[in-house]
Every structure is written in structure tokens, then in C-alpha cells.
């Protein structure tokens, strides 16, 4: 290290070593922007730029808007959009869900509440169905892990864009609503 980078005379040897290891702080100089010299007077009065900006606003004023009035107007989504859930039914119209809790286990948002009960005795080959199956759509992050986890293909995602309601209670979809979704 050269002496000009450590201007102060070291008092002891250890102080010198410390100074060598950590370089001396750079002098803080006030940066003065000298752009005014480069700008022409046209630029300096700002008026052309102002007008240019206003022209953009004026042009957009007559274009078709990109926004829409959600939720009264619904966005167009693709067929594969992960929207609201649906509980599926088999050929006989019985719900496929066996209340295995795999979706609730996989759910990172903990939005699925299941309570199981025994299936009606006349449902051949089925032991368990959900007595309660609720999804809290406010908690749901629409990741689709529940669909992936389901061993019975009993839950799937529709491309229905999440609905908007007035109360929190309405966002909790129960079994019947999910079956009809």
C-alpha cells in the first residue's frame, strides 16, 4: 500500500497493519450534475416534453381500454385456467370423494376442512364419504396441489374465475356448492 492512501502517520505497528488491511475511506465529494450545460433551451423550457406526454394521454383516451370492470365483467381465461374447485361425481351421480384428507394434507394454505363419515350402506364398495367438505376460497391460493394429491380424481379445478362476495362466510364453499360447481 502506498503512503498517500493512508495519509495519517501510524502511531504503532499494529495500527499500520490494520490500516493496510482496511483501505482508507474514499473522500466524499459532492457530485455536481453539469447537465444544464448539455441541454438546449428547447429542452430546458420542458414544454415539448410536456406536450409529448399529453399526446400519449390523448391517444389512449380514444383507444379501447385494457382494464375492465371486475367483478361485474369477467376476464376471459384459457380452458386450463386454475379457477374454483369442483367435486366430481361418478357415472351413478355419487360423489367420488372418499374423505381421505389427501387434499387437506397437501394444501399449503390449509383452506380445506374435511370431516368424514361412513358411506350409506347401499353404496357398494364405498366405506367413507365426507360429511363436511369446505374450501375457504379466501385462503385458497389456487395452486392445484389438491387436484394433484387426490387419488380418486374427486376434486378438479374449473376455469371459473374466483367469485367475489360481500361477506366472508359466502367465500366458504361447502360440499353441495362444490359438487354443483
Amino acid at each position: 500500500m502506498s503512503a498517500d492512501m493512508t495519509p495519517q502517520t501510524p502511531q504503532t505497528e499494529t495500527a499500520t497493519e490494520a490500516a493496510i488491511e482496511t483501505p482508507a475511506p474514499r473522500l466524499l465529494t459532492r457530485t455536481v450534475l453539469k447537465t444544464s450545460q448539455k441541454m438546449s433551451w428547447v429542452t430546458r423550457i420542458y414544454l415539448p416534453m410536456l406536450l409529448k406526454g399529453l399526446m400519449i394521454s390523448l391517444r389512449e383516451f380514444f383507444r379501447k381500454p385494457v382494464t375492465f370492470n371486475y367483478p361485474e365483467q369477467r376476464p376471459k381465461v384459457s380452458e386450463r385456467f386454475r379457477g374454483e374447485h369442483r367435486l366430481t361425481k361418478d357415472d351413478e351421480g355419487k360423489m367420488k370423494c372418499v374423505a381421505c384428507y389427501m387434499c387437506a394434507t397437501a394444501c399449503p394454505a390449509h383452506c380445506i376442512t374435511i370431516e368424514a363419515e361412513a358411506a350409506p350402506p347401499e353404496w357398494d364398495g364405498r366405506d367413507k364419504i365426507p360429511r363436511v367438505f369446505e374450501i375457504d376460497m379466501l385462503k385458497c391460493i389456487y395452486c392445484g396441489y389438491c387436484v394433484e394429491a387426490c387419488p380418486k380424481e374427486a376434486i378438479e379445478m374449473t376455469n371459473k374465475v374466483p367469485q367475489v362476495y360481500q361477506t366472508r362466510q359466502e367465500f366458504i364453499y361447502d360440499r353441495e356448492k362444490l359438487l354443483a360447481n
Binding site: A99, C100, Y101, A118, D127, P151
Partner: protein
């Protein structure tokens, strides 16, 4: 045991020394070497029918079953030899041929040996394309249901009813791939130990009716505890759900107490922790604050002359509670008489492999060792026989499902005021002259020690948060003592 010779053998390259009458699987398990098993159970006879415990023994022409092969001097066992691994893989495939693979609907999923060993030893996919045999579903008894298709016919349950409960209700009916477990005609699996068959069933064939579809086992968390249902003091594991609600109680192995068994009554005795609880302190039937209630209790206890106070301590209290009662009485109501009581003793229920004690109190021995009450029933009887009125009766109760005896009522009737410490809002509280009721906790919510019929002191910790405003007796008496001292200092002691 000393006359049984020890033999030296090698399992997976490790030298082990075990008694000569052991089998390979027991020697391996005792040395923390895992050999998979379904039909083998340490406390049951050896059946050797599941064939999953295949191991390679040096010199043997083919893999042998570890559960039925006795150890021998110089034997060399390999659990991971290629032929043993291949044999286990084959056994797993055969066991799964007729298995319905209904894990989503099965309560055993998550603690199922078929799942575990399928991952560890099985194939990653099935090759069976033919139609599976479907077997019956049945309700075997009041607490046990049977799913035939899931059964692997290990016969652990059959051996349990033969050897441990000695009731022999179960047998195997039909032959070949149609074999099923069933009760004998006209009989039901209704012995007091029936739910142990659910525990020892390695698959989901026998399931508990009481836990059926209640929860998936991976959503439960477990805490160790000690059963308070009788004086055996079975070591238990209490399984609770995410809301801290007890879902089931299962035995925890302790060869000195209960091996791996437990009675049905003990398993199902957790309802009292949730129903009819005394939520808040009460003074003359009205809800009060702890401060008011403690003051009222102190007035009744120390206001009268110590000789007119009688303290009734039940055999359901922990050693710690009894010790604090004793401490409090000697400090604040010197001269008060301490009397013990408990649930009336019934007949012991003895089975070939287990005894359910008739003494339905977890800590009768504690009364003896802590409070010096040799015979609790006799002490209550003696008190009931007297006629002198009792000023204040302090009852440290905590007995769930207590049936009040005539003697107990006689003592209550003779008491002017009763200070009750109990977790329940029950018959005793409503009986009449209870002036102050202070809520305590059940053994699920507090720590303590019970001394079982054998004189074995077993400590337990709380398994869940208190569901009421109750406090443990030790805290309660400490606060009472503090209040009494504060009252003495400020000079308002009556």
C-alpha cells in the same frame, strides 16, 4: 433364566449374544436390527405364516423365516442377502394380490405395516391383472370392525384371544384365498380386552369402531401418559388432533406393567375430560372469581376450630396433590382429620395374559405412602359411623363417574359446609351443602405421580392444555396458603 445357555451368533456382521431359546427375529430386534414381520409378536406364540421375515442363514439351502428359526452357536444371519431380499419382495407381492389398495378409505393408512414394507421391500407396481377376491365386512363386537379384503391372515388377533384374553372368540374360516377371520357362531368379540386386536392388527383389517373415520393418523400428535382407570396404571399414548381434542388412547409398551396391552374401558375413558366440567370457581352455587372463592374457602376452613374440620382425599389424587393437602392441613388447619376414600373395589378380572384390577382407583397406594391411610375404605367407614357434626368438610375429589355410597352421603349430611375440589360439575356438586367449589384438572391436564397396585410409582405429564379455568391442586393449595398468610399479616384473620 440362569440355566438357559447363551449363544453367540452373527447378524448382518454384528456379533450378538442371546439366550439359546430365542429365535433369530427376537435376537435381531433385541440388538436393534430390523427384520420385517407381520405375524410375529413378542407376547404371542409363533405362527410363522406371513413369511415376510425371510433371512439368509449361512449354510441353509434357501432363505428361512426369522421368527421360527432358533438361534444356534456360530450361526451367521444376513437380513440383506440377495436371496432374502428377493424372497421378501415375492412375499410382499403375494400379500398385495388380493389387497384392495383402499388406503384412502382405510383408518390404518399412515401406521400400516403393509404400506411400510411395501415401500421398503416391495415392488413399485403390481403385476396382478386378474380379478381380486372380495371378502366380507363384519362387525365383530361392540368396539371392533373387520374388513376382510384387507386382512393378510397373520392370525395375531386369533392368537390374542386364545392366549392373552383366553376368550377364544376368533377363528379362521374357509380355506385358501377365501380364508377370513370370524367369530364363532353366536359369539361376539366382546371381551374387555377386545380392542387390543385392533392395535396388533398390522394392517387395516381390524379397526376400532370408536376411532372409525375420526381422523387420519398423520394429523394426530401423541403424548405419553398413564391410564387412571384402575390400579394397574397402564402406560398409554394419548393421540390428539390439531384442536387438542383426545381422539384415542392406545397402550405404550412397558413390560413391568402392561406389556403392550390395555383394557377397552381404559381406552375409552377420556370423555369425562370434555363433558360436565366445572368451569369456574363457585361460592354457594354462583360463579365467583378465584380470589373470592379462595377467601370463602379459607374462612370456612380456618374460621372454625381445626378439630371440626375433616379432609376427605380420594384415591384419584396424585402423590403431589396429597402431599400439598397434607402440607396445607398441617400449616393452616392443624388438628384436622384426613380420611381417604375411593371408588368401591370390584372383582379383579383375570385373563391368561392380563389382569384388570378391581380397584378402580389409580392411586390407593399413594394414600398409604403419602397420607399414611392404610385402608381408605375403612377410614371412611369409621368416619361415617360417628355422629358428631363436622364443621367444614374439605373434599379433594377428582373421581370421574363416582357413585356416591351411603357412607359418603352420611358424611356429607353431617357436615355444615363442604369445600369441594373437583374437575366435574357433577352429582357431588349438586348434592346440597357444597359452599365452595374450586375447579381442578383431570389427569390429562396436569402432571403427577400415581402408585400402582404393585407399588410402582409412575410419573406422567399433561397431555393437553386445560379446558377449564381449573388449576392443579399443588397450585391451588399454594395460593390458599399464601392468602392465609396475607390475611394473618393484615390482621383480618377471623
Amino acid at each position: 433364566m440362569s440355566e438357559i445357555k447363551q449363544v453367540n451368533l452373527k447378524i448382518d456382521g454384528r456379533d450378538v449374544t442371546v439366550p439359546a431359546d430365542w429365535t433369530v427375529i427376537r435376537a435381531a430386534h433385541a440388538n436393534d436390527i430390523d427384520i420385517p414381520h407381520y405375524c410375529y409378536h413378542k407376547d404371542l406364540s409363533i405362527a410363522g405364516n406371513c413369511r415376510i421375515c425371510m433371512v439368509n442363514v449361512k449354510g441353509a439351502p434357501r432363505p428361512v423365516v426369522g421368527c421360527a428359526t432358533p438361534v444356534a452357536e456360530g450361526m451367521e444371519v444376513s437380513t440383506m442377502a440377495p436371496d432374502a431380499v428377493e424372497a421378501r419382495k415375492g412375499v410382499m407381492e403375494f400379500l398385495l394380490i388380493n389387497h384392495p389398495l383402499d388406503c384412502p378409505e382405510c383408518d390404518q393408512a399412515g401406521e400400516c405395516k403393509l404400506q411400510d414394507y411395501s415401500v421398503d421391500h416391495g415392488r413399485d407396481h403390481g403385476r396382478f391383472t386378474e380379478e381380486k377376491v372380495r371378502k366380507s365386512k363384519a362387525t365383530l363386537g361392540p368396539h371392533v370392525k373387520y374388513w376382510g379384503s384387507r386382512c393378510i391372515l397373520c392370525t395375531r388377533c386369533v392368537r390374542f384371544t386364545d392366549e392373552v384374553s383366553g376368550t377364544g372368540e376368533l377363528g379362521v374360516i374357509y380355506r385358501g384365498d377365501r380364508s377370513e377371520i370370524a367369530t364363532f357362531p353366536g359369539r361376539a368379540l366382546d371381551n374387555p380386552l377386545s380392542m387390543n386386536t385392533v392395535d396388533i392388527c398390522p394392517v387395516g383389517a381390524l379397526v376400532s369402531s370408536d376411532f372409525l373415520f375420526q381422523s387420519r393418523v398423520w394429523h394426530l400428535h401423541s403424548n405419553p401418559s398413564v391410564c387412571a382407570d384402575c390400579s394397574v396404571g397402564c402406560n398409554t399414548r394419548v393421540d390428539l388432533d390439531a384442536k387438542d381434542q383426545i381422539k384415542r388412547i392406545v397402550p405404550r409398551r412397558n413390560d413391568a406393567v402392561n406389556k403392550e396391552w390395555m383394557c377397552d374401558s381404559g381406552r375409552l375413558s377420556f370423555g369425562y375430560a370434555y363433558s360436565d366440567r366445572l368451569q369456574k370457581p363457585k361460592v354457594h352455587g354462583k360463579d365467583a372469581t378465584w380470589r373470592e372463592a379462595r377467601r370463602a374457602a379459607l374462612e370456612l376452613l380456618s374460621g372454625t376450630n381445626g378439630s371440626s374440620v375433616v379432609v376427605l382425599v380420594s384415591a384419584w389424587n396424585t402423590n403431589e396433590a396429597m402431599a400439598t393437602v397434607k402440607d396445607f392441613v398441617s400449616a393452616e388447619v392443624a388438628g384436622a382429620r384426613i380420611v381417604g376414600y375411593g371408588n368401591p373395589t370390584q372383582q379383579d378380572q383375570t385373563f391368561p395374559g392380563f389382569t384388570i384390577r378391581g380397584d378402580k382407583n389409580p392411586n390407593r397406594d399413594g394414600l398409604k405412602s403419602v397420607l399414611g391411610i392404610a385402608d381408605a375404605d375403612a377410614s371412611l367407614k369409621a368416619l361415617a359411623a360417628e355422629t358428631a357434626p363436622i364443621g367444614t368438610l374439605l373434599v379433594v375429589h377428582n373421581v370421574p363417574g363416582f357413585a356416591m355410597t351411603a357412607e359418603f352421603k352420611a358424611v356429607l349430611d353431617r357436615s355444615e359446609n363442604v369445600v369441594l375440589l373437583d374437575f366435574a360439575d357433577g352429582e357431588l356438586l349438586r348434592y346440597g351443602n357444597v359452599a365452595v367449589a374450586l375447579p381442578t384438572l383431570t389427569s390429562f391436564e396436569k402432571a403427577g405421580t400415581f402408585v400402582n397396585h404393585d407399588g410402582l410409582a409412575q410419573e406422567f405429564a399433561p397431555v393437553m392444555e386445560p379446558v377449564t379455568h381449573g388449576v392443579p391442586e399443588s397450585d391451588l393449595f399454594a395460593s390458599l396458603k399464601q392468602d392465609a398468610r396475607a390475611a394473618t399479616v393484615s390482621g383480618v384473620k377471623a
